[in-house]
Amino acid sequence: MSTLDFTLALGDDALIAAQRLGEWTSRAPEMEEDIALANIALDQLGAARLLLTYAGELEGAGRDEDALAYLRDDREFRNCLLVELPNGDFGVTMAKLFFLAAYQLPLYTALAGCADERLAAIGAKARKESAYHLDHAALWVRRLGDGTEESHRRMQDAVDQVWPYTHELFTPAPTAPVDPATLRADFDAQVRDVLDQATLTRPADGWTPGGGRDGLHTEHLSYLLAEMQVLHRAHPGARW
């Protein structure tokens, strides 16, 4: 995987995660959580902007962050399927965020030490924010898993539903600036600890949906992009 493809994949992960988290704004179960999810979305968007700007420079075709975010179609996006899945209930959102953060934290930490100076700077910055995301999501997974019978049932359902999509994150890419396969041990240890504390069961491995890195997405991404891109496409170059 080239540095461009890798940077685009990470940028798209962050961008689509930001858009999905932003859907909770004004709809979260309590005000503090509303603010938390919006803050995490903003962090993801910040990382996405840095990564997509760099991807545009690597490509050298004159595309900036906006051109990459708003003027590509679904088949050109390289994000993992995990981030494009609908939010579901609050448990599903937290399962998604927990798995994403448990992947992004070791990823950005490894990136901070990689040979590419720009990616190293982005990694060093973003990992500090990821640590907060992971902490927040883990707190909810524990609270809901080790909560009432109903919250336990729903958190377990959420983990079961989202788990198959985590495998795609660690598809080996030996030539990438960071080989995602090397992050698996950190991720597994983190997941095991938190699920244990939450009295939840790690699902058995079976179905492993993938294809996001090759532009093969679920039907959900097109709807997300339609909403995210409509303003920019309807009013090209608009400013306010």
């Binding site: 503090e32 959580e33 603010i35 938390a36 919006a38 803050n39 995490i40 903003l42 962090d43 993801q44 968007l45 910040g46 990382a47 902007r49 840095l50 934290l105 070791p106 950005y108 930490t109 901070a112 100076e117 190293a120 700077a121 982005i122 060093a124 910055k125 973003a126 990992r127 500090k128 924010e129 990821s130 640590a131 907060y132 992971l134 902490d135 927040h136 950190d186």
Partner: protein, 159 residues
């Protein structure tokens, strides 16, 4: 022309208006480019998604224009990553006086889950406080409450 460094250092943070960008540690340098002779101001964001960066850039340009440097360049750098450890003592005192509890020393290494150390209430000084939410009114703040005087307050998160 007046001292450009002093002019830039006096620019206040648009979201926490009691503290300057110098005291917050996001003003990294004010130098002259050896080749072009232009003044170059280097700043760094607190958080990657900080929405105040555009306003800060504009405020820096405005301050420099007023100080006689209308053609200065403002550069944004991301490395080394900003840390709350860069907030000056004076900045910390100003935060506390404005009712924002200053941060504890930053956690080392990205993989360490931040410790929750006792945060003193900026109003009554009591250490009997609790976190209401890790995320507050801006990206860099958390929401806390004092159990002694019952007042809610902002806390600048260690980063």
């Amino acid at each position: 022309m007046s001292d450009p460094r002093a002019a830039v250092a006096a620019v206040v943070d648009p979201e926490i208006r009691v503290i300057t960008i110098d005291e917050l540690g996001i003003l990294r340098s004010v130098d002259e480019d050896p080749e072009s002779g232009r003044l170059v101001v280097t700043i760094t964001p607190t958080y990657t998604g900080c929405p105040a960066m555009d306003v800060i850039r504009a405020d820096v340009r405005r301050a420099l224009a007023a100080a006689g440097h209308p053609d200065a360049e403002v550069r944004t750098v991301y490395s080394p990553a900003w840390s709350t450890d860069w907030i000056s003592e004076r900045g910390r005192a100003k935060l506390a006086a404005a009712g924002i509890a200053p941060p504890a020393p930053a956690p080392r290494g990205g993989t360490v889950v931040p410790l929750t150390l006792a945060v003193r209430c900026p109003r009554c000084g009591s250490p009997e406080t609790e976190q209401v939410s890790r995320f507050g009114s801006t990206a860099c703040k958390a929401l806390w409450r004092c159990r002694a005087c019952s007042e809610p307050f902002d806390h600048l998160k260690a980063l």
